[in-house]
Point group: C2
Chain length 142, copies 2
């Protein structure tokens, strides 16, 4: 497996070199809106520690990573009024990975809707900002 590249786009987001629609941050994780959402409220949770994906991740990241995924998934139910939440994580290009920094997709799934394609169309920035605000409001309520 190729090694981790610290100049990937998510590492740049973590360093503040590229803007993002931030939802949440703690010592070990960072959550923000996917700019090519497969559904409204499609969020990403990334680790601050650099790894290419799950395959080379240090198991020390698993509790903080999944605790944040759980937190964002619960907030998604509240913020987007859904019961269903899909979690996906891609390892390597053949599985659909496009950015080589460990990230977990959190996707609200309203009843009776289909997912849009992965890495499909860029969303409107105003809309993404509104969705990030919905998440932050849900998280603030606990």
């Amino acid at each position: 497996m190729p090694t981790y590249d610290p100049d990937n786009i998510f590492a740049k987001i973590l360093r503040g070199e590229i803007p993002s629609h931030k939802i949440y941050e703690d010592d070990h994780t960072f959550a923000f809106m996917d700019i090519m959402p497969q559904a409204d409220g499609h969020a990403l949770v990334i680790t601050k520690a650099g790894s290419r994906n799950l395959l080379d991740a240090d198991p020390k990241v698993f509790t903080p990573l999944m605790t944040t995924v759980q937190k964002i998934a619960r907030a998604a139910q509240q913020a987007f009024g859904v019961d269903g939440v899909l979690i996906k994580q891609f390892n390597e290009a053949d599985a659909g990975q496009t950015v080589y920094h460990l990230h977990v997709h959190v996707i609200p799934r309203p009843a009776g809707t289909s997912l849009k394609p992965h890495s499909g169309q860029m969303a409107d920035q105003t809309r993404l900002a509104e969705h990030a605000a919905k998440y932050r409001a849900a998280l603030a309520q606990g």
Copy 2:
């Protein structure tokens, strides 16, 4: 959210009341073949602690759960000769959940292939047994 039902099919597999094509087991997790695979080598990792899905899971399970998912994903690469491994986890029916016991899908993704539908067709038992044996051999090699 409805509560956890200890008579779900995966709880029965854990108690040995229903057979499964077992790949791996430790104190906190159990891995076996999905009987309706979306691709060859489609495995499931479940927690021994009962929770309905990720939303109500005790964060204590995250490190053992994801450590086993990582182990099975690495074994999948070796056992099925793939680079790509897709990880999925469904929360509630609208997201595709059909069994209400926390489980993570580990799906080998050979280049240039499409996934079969989720909960599609029952696989041949002999073939599932062979695939479980491939996983166990890969895990034994480390």
